[in-house]
């Protein structure tokens, strides 16, 4: 079994985002999902002093800086969409698995925009992963 380098970084994602699920639930038991998203962004802001790059930021290309900024806007607009879906009558048991299918968009876009391809085994892994994420989000 070969463990690729990205796996360890993804393990960090799984642990911290997995933990988020618990605190998000505790938060939305007491405040609305929209308020929770606003305070979540405040939580991001609290991290800013720790990740402030200083003058190093000037060394990166404007295009890549734009991608970084856009990632924040798209991610949070998407989260707003999810909360709006639940607020406008969508059942959480349907909305959450539906929105969890976003990797499908990446599977379609990555070969076109990033010129990446996946092996058959990875493709099978992606299918298993999508089934898993839908079942776990129900």
């Amino acid at each position: 079994m070969h463990i690729p380098p990205w796996f360890w970084y993804v393990a960090v994602v799984l642990i911290f985002w997995g933990g988020c699920g618990i605190f998000q639930k505790l938060a939305t038991n007491r405040i609305s999902a929209e308020s929770s998203l606003i305070w979540l962004i405040v939580g991001f802001v609290l991290l800013e002093p720790l990740v402030y790059p200083g003058r190093a930021l000037l060394h990166y290309s404007k295009q890549n800086i734009m991608w970084g900024l856009l990632s924040g806007a798209l991610s949070n607009l998407g989260a707003w969409g999810l909360y709006a879906a639940m607020k406008s009558g969508g059942k959480a048991s349907i909305v959450a698995p539906f929105c969890a299918l976003y990797p499908l968009v990446v599977v379609v876009l990555a070969p076109i925009l990033l010129h990446e391809s996946i092996t058959k085994l990875q493709g099978l892994g992606v299918i298993c992963g999508l089934v898993a994420v839908v079942l776990l989000s129900v």
């Binding site: 998407g78 406008s88 992963g129 898993a132």
Partner: protein, 144 residues
């Protein structure tokens, strides 16, 4: 016989919007992470999040609930999410396949499910058990 189209429901469009925004989010995250380190990407991500937060505040007419525990939990969620986000940027920056990394990282509900059992004393449903089995299979396949 009248069949109601699911596309007449507004929430379906919001779901589609979410999926269509989160997909490109990962693509731009990958593009930026090829040059910019994970911590700086997180810095930029937060700056990019601020207009959305302000827009949400404006929609709510700058009125928020004042439940201390709720605010603490939501803010702490953001703090944890930011650290996890840096992990994702680092994974993209390491040169791995974007579709594989995105799918693997989207499996975080499996940790939530396990933590919910351990911390919140929730019970696993059989659907979640099957989901955990598929998640395990996905990770095994990614590591072959």
């Amino acid at each position: 016989m009248i069949i109601n189209s699911p596309f007449k429901a507004r929430w379906v469009w919001y779901c589609l919007l979410c999926v269509l925004l989160w997909g490109p989010y990962t693509i731009v995250a990958k593009l930026g992470s090829r040059e910019i380190p994970a911590t700086t990407m997180q810095f930029l991500f937060t700056i990019g999040s601020l207009p959305v937060g302000l827009a949400l505040l404006a929609v709510r007419k700058f009125k928020l609930e004042k439940d201390g525990k709720g605010i603490f939990h939501a803010t702490f969620t953001g703090f944890l999410s930011g650290i996890g986000g840096m992990g994702l940027f680092a994974a993209y920056g390491s040169g791995g396949n974007t579709a594989v990394i995105t799918t693997a990282s989207s499996l975080y509900p499996m940790v939530t499910v396990v933590l919910a059992v351990l911390i919140l004393r929730e019970r696993l449903t059989w659907i979640q058990v099957v989901g955990l089995a598929f998640a395990t299979a996905a990770f095994v396949l990614f590591s072959l």
